[in-house]
């Protein structure tokens, strides 16, 4: 409520703004000034202007050193600790969240400099709807502003080639936020140089059960057979279906749990729990996490490989079983299995295309096209 008043205020002209400020108590006006400043400061934008980009030569050098080793393509962040940060530095709770967003834009820049092309962040969980009404509406307002700001920066989106995806149950969001989200996603969907996944109204359990629902619908509509369900297909039906699994997960604020975030996708990821609160996260923490990833790289790769082999083996067995069920005692089993595998792949591809189409139709329906 309070935030929306300030937001409206920011649209009126500056003289009016100053006249208004005189009537306010010092503490409030300080807060307002800070807010005003940040809102029109370039830091508040999603893209830092070139002269503001970190040009510290030592950091650049360290990044180059790190880049000689394995760099994760996809990193996931749980941005925890905004509220604790606000309490610690006696700021308003909303200020803490705003600081958190600033840190996110900074972190995205560091990631791009390191060659990390995909980032997934946990912005808002379905469980977070349980928070106080004031905080939830504050967060929604922040999200709406940020997505609208993003749309003002269309040129920059195209320049950097950023694709923005929102993962989660968008239906749970208020209408204005939903629209802003859909517009941003729709606008940037063809970009592929850098990908930002924002988990909004998301929990992993929801995601997994949603994926199973999609597959069941596919079975009901005749796209799939129940036997087509596999680890690979389920993975493609998740919200993150088009992305590789994140290789590194970073959680700030010293908590050591996943809190229902990318449970399926992070089974083989390196987990890095960092003690600092999210607004205090620095490029050095990121470097340390990447170094940690490099130390773990080989062993994890081994287990991943092993899992991949079992998955393929299982698929072959399943195909074999299906062929045996279809034609009992036949000759030339091997070629029949091959044919069956080809047909199965085709079925799955048609189903996935259908799923894509459904998703973009849903976005269009939100935008009222």
């Amino acid at each position: 409520m309070r935030i929306s008043i300030y937001a409206r205020l920011l649209h009126c002209d500056v003289s009016e703004y100053c006249r208004f400020l005189v009537h306010l108590r010092p503490k409030t006006s300080c807060f307002l000034f800070g807010w005003y400043h940040r809102h029109f400061d370039c830091r508040m934008s999603w893209f830092p202007e070139d002269e503001h980009r970190s040009t510290n030569r030592f950091t650049k050098f360290c990044a180059n050193v790190l880049k000689c080793g394995a760099i994760p393509k996809h990193v996931a962040f749980i941005m925890d600790g905004n509220r604790r940060f606000a309490r610690k530095s006696s700021l308003e709770r909303q200020e803490g969240h705003i600081k958190g967003f600033e840190k996110l834009t900074e972190t995205l820049e560091w990631c791009l400099d390191l060659g990390i092309t995909e980032v997934t962040v946990y912005a808002f969980s379905i469980e977070n709807f349980k928070r106080s009404k004031e905080e939830v509406s504050g967060l929604m307002e922040l999200a709406r502003q940020k997505f609208e700001k993003l749309l003002e920066e269309k040129k920059m989106i195209q320049k950097y080639g950023v694709c923005i995806r929102v993962l989660g149950d968008i239906d749970l969001l208020p209408n204005d936020v939903k629209r802003a989200v859909a517009e941003a996603v729709n606008f940037s969907k063809h970009n592929n140089r850098a990908i930002l996944n924002v988990c909004f109204a998301y929990t992993s359990r929801h995601e997994i059960s949603n994926a199973i629902k999609e597959m069941a619908l596919g079975v009901e509509e005749g796209f799939l057979r129940p036997s087509d369900v596999s680890e690979e297909l389920l993975e493609k039906c998740l919200y993150t279906g088009k992305s590789p699994n994140p290789e590194l997960l970073i959680r700030t604020s010293g908590e050591v749990r996943l809190s229902d975030f990318l449970l399926w996708q992070t089974t083989f990821s390196v987990l890095s729990f960092v003690k600092v609160l999210w607004p205090e996260f620095s490029v050095w923490h990121l470097f340390a996490a990447v170094l940690h990833y490099q130390r773990n790289y080989e062993q994890i790769q081994k287990t991943k490989q092993q899992n991949q082999e079992t998955v393929e083996e299982r698929q072959r067995e399943s195909d074999h079983q299906c062929v045996l069920e279809d034609y009992k005692n036949c000759s030339d089993l091997e070629s029949k299995i091959q044919l069956y595998a080809k047909q199965r792949e085709q079925r799955i591809q048609t189903f996935l295309n259908h799923l894509d189409e459904k998703h973009s139709k849903y976005l269009d329906s939100i935008l009222g096209v």
């Binding site: 359990r205 199973i212 597959m215 069941a216 680890e231 996943l258 083989f268 940690h292």
Partner: protein, 268 residues
């Protein structure tokens, strides 16, 4: 033309030497890190024999320690992510867990060694129980499960359950549940919209009685869960210990203290 070619060569050698130095530096950094961790673990093992006061562990001592904790996990997951598994040490830790009053214990490794050697584990645990608990060991009976399915069904009345898991259980359980649901939808026994996270949780559990793990203790240097029950671990606290070999009781109890100190907010 020649000059141009030369220029090009010059730039590329410069790039090459730069990246060469970067590479050497990174290797050096990793080597330093490895040495530091190695020295740390050496100091750690050297210290161990000094902690003789923790050598003798009786049931009373374990239980009095447990009473001073303000919360205990109901279900603990022990992830052994080391190549070399010592069954005696694993059994030792399992017996500690049992004695402090943890009712559900999951043992996990990626290769499936626990599942293959379940009789061995059963015997080791019985042996250790006798060592720690003496004559009272008969009071602490347990059920053994392999991937959620009971193996040794000899005792009826007991409250401790030990589950052996491997890479085949985590994701594959979800796929199995999904397949089952899809079959039911195909037979029109269930509707697509019947499914939600809670229903899926029940489907996944099936007959086994294990609740979601509250605490995961990971042994080994790999900082990853490597496929441990993805659907069940959303609220599990993940704590690490460098190795399960000769694990000290003090380390074990300090991990439980750390767990007791973790506060959960459930999204609020």
């Amino acid at each position: 033309m020649n000059e141009l070619g030369f220029d090009f060569l010059c730039v590329s050698t410069e790039c090459f030497t730069m990246s060469f130095y970067h590479d050497v530096l990174l290797r050096l950094l990793h080597a330093i890190l490895a040495v530091t961790f190695f020295i740390q673990s050496c100091i750690w093992t050297a210290k161990k024999p000094l902690q003789f006061q923790y050598r003798k562990r009786t049931r009373d001592r374990l239980q009095s320690d447990a009473r001073s904790l303000n919360k205990l996990p109901l279900h603990i997951g022990l992830l052994v992510l080391e190549d070399d598994i010592s069954y005696t040490d694993v059994a030792n830790i399992v017996v500690w867990c049992m004695t402090v009053g943890i009712s559900y214990i999951s043992l996990y490794d990626t290769q499936g060694d626990f599942k293959r050697n379940c009789t061995k584990i059963n015997n080791e645990i019985l042996k250790k129980q006798e060592e720690v608990l003496g004559n009272e060991s008969t009071k602490c009976l347990f059920h053994l499960y392999r991937g959620g399915i009971e193996v040794h069904n000899k005792v009826n009345d007991c409250r401790i359950h030990v589950n052996l898991l491997s890479l085949e259980d985590g994701r594959q359980d979800i796929v199995r549940a999904a397949k089952y649901f899809c079959q039911q939808v195909a037979c029109k026994r269930r509707k697509v919209n019947d499914l939600n996270p809670t229903v899926l949780e029940n489907d996944l559990q099936g007959n086994d009685i294990f609740p979601d793990p509250d605490l995961i203790i990971k042994f080994g240097d790999v900082d990853s869960l490597l496929g441990f029950l993805p659907y069940q671990i959303r609220l599990s606290e993940i704590l690490c210990s460098s190795s399960h070999h000769n694990m000290d009781y003090k380390v074990f109890i300090s991990l439980l203290y750390r767990y007791a100190g973790c506060a959960q907010r459930y999204g609020k």
